[in-house]
Amino acid sequence: MTSTTDQVAGLDDLAATTLLRFATAGSVDDGKSTLVGRLLHDSKSVLTDQMEAVEAVSARRGQDAPDLALLTDGLRAEREQGITIDVAYRYFATARRRFILADTPGHVQYTRNMVTGASTADLAVVLVDARNGVIEQTRRHAAVAALLRVPHVVLAVNKMDLVGYAESVFATIAEEFTAYASDLGVPEITAIPISALAGDNVVEPSANMDWYGGPTVLEHLETVPVSHDLTACPARFPVQYVIRPQTPEHPDYRGYAGQIASGVLRVGEAVTVLPSGRTSVIEGIDALGEPVDIAWAPQSVTVRLKDDIDISRGDLIAPSANAPATTQDVVATVCHVADQPLAVGARVLIKHTTRTVKAIVKEIPSRLTLDDLSQHPDPGQLVANDIGRVVVRTAEPLALDAYADSRRTGSFLLIDPADGTTLAAGMAGESFASQAEAADAARDDDGWDF
């Protein structure tokens, strides 16, 4: 084990930290579990009783060293079969930041698992084995990160110890990956040469790679900016719940509770309520009981309006100057996450922000092959882990943004009305891999902001 710098934070520092959500992606033998175990272990996030349990099991299995991968395999079936079933969430902290890690397994069901993990991530770590370089699986991971609009991608070139810590090996892989991911539209890519097993450049800078001048994985995770860009977007406020106490103290209070999906809301601002199109002015904002002048994403607040207009759960409040168009024809890319297929003609429910409406799948124009990003026209249906373009007609208008503009108001679920199964994860608007088709859709519906 490498020695570590002292990461125990002072009490004042503990309150001042920010939160970074990130996801890991890697195929089975890339050493992802070891990297995650190393991050947890070297950031002193593994406590004595957890480590003792890992040591005991490792010894029972006849392993010389504690198997850090055991820190992350929690279920009976996972331990019995040596596989990871599903996304798990891990928590660790340093003096500078708190982390929520979506630990996504890299086996055959990679797509839906990685989509799940990446949907809430500010950053994705894509792991590559230095001996193999960029392979098909790496391209899939990059494509999913791009599709889900993960703002930051880290390429961790692992097992550098097995290629003699050679700079040229790292440089070739980093260059190839950066070119590929940039083409997909990944805005920021950071490549880091590491050995998760030996601990090089994970938490501690490597003495074996003095040619590398960049940050370690942890340093990068600690300093990468979290999604402030949410507040640069137009404000979107999906109404979750109407608060009407009707008590002697608050006989007339009527507040619209919700979490600001993007942007900033200010008292005095002119707003439009969708889909009705009624307008009013923000009279007050209550930030969990405390009145404020201004609030921003992702704060949960309660908004009061000057006019007593009919607003209920599922409505969207947006600045009148920058309100989204509404549509009943949703063109989107979906990742199919259920075992039962999704076919043309299927009657489904669409859950978009706080609104759930009936819908019908009108078309499935194409299915995407992640390996080479080629489009297969008219597949007829999508099965588990497929990514495809769909056209969905909804029973009521939705105030949808393009996913490219807002991960929160551009995303939706398709749900099976019969048994409630989540069928697909949807991203409205243009997709990186089907720009020609998206342009066609835009001509049909000028409400789309492509």
Binding site: T48, R76, R97, G420
Partner: protein
Amino acid sequence: MTTTVAHVHEETDAPYALSHLDALESEAVHIFREVAGEFEKPVILFSGGKDSIVMLHLALKAFAPAPVPFALLHVDTGHNFPEVLDYRDRTVTEHGLRLHVASVQDYIDAGTLRERPDGTRNPLQTVPLTEAIHNLKFDAVFGGGRRDEEKARAKERVFSLRDEFSQWDPRRQRPELWQLYNGRHAPGEHVRVFPLSNWTELDVWQYIAREGIELPEIYFAHEREVFRRNGMWLTAGEWGGPKEDETTETRLIRYRTVGDMSCTGAVDSDATTLDAVIAEIAVSRLTERGATRADDKMSEAAMEDRKREGYF
């Protein structure tokens, strides 16, 4: 009349950032409001422990100035700390809440549950809990479970669908994407909801300190008659301890978790204030459950097995 909150700015350098506690609070409130908007009859599982106390505090903030639109459900093992029951009842009165109690002792007295040889009542909670959910027709049940507590919990969804037998099947969980929670369920099924999924023990304590939330006094250092069993300090009492070969002593201790007296261990501590407790946890090298829960030590998959049967 409006004022700008300054504390959000103070905690971070960027103008429109949220501190991690504000982000967690905002997310948990969003979850409470989603459930209020989508379910017919939700209930908050309330034990008088710090996690359920934080849940109730978040619910109070989420619906202010209106009252919390949910009742509370307490599974009473019959071996609860009196200080905690007192806290529970005071809280219910103070906020005008409705409390349902599912009693393990009633089941034992009726002969439908049998006392275990080791005297531990925690695993016995599952039957009264699931029967209360079904009899009272709750369709959403808030639990204070956190994913950082245990490896099986790390796999738990925020909205966790349970079948008509209240069972959790880790292989049949719905993928949870963005902040879009799917709570659809068939009649007879229900959803367990975990608003504190993304919180750690330290987050909970820091939030309690920031919000000035009152806790039962057993969370702070005090002198108590305890005895040693399976490497833990257990409270002596009528519930069945100590046995003949066990001896009591008076020690300065506090509790890190609150549960059934028969399986919740105390830790040696002189932390009498919130700051002292937080300082103690920040440097602790033992997990909360590792330090205090006998029932999790029964087997490597104890929590998973209990969850499968309907436990939280």
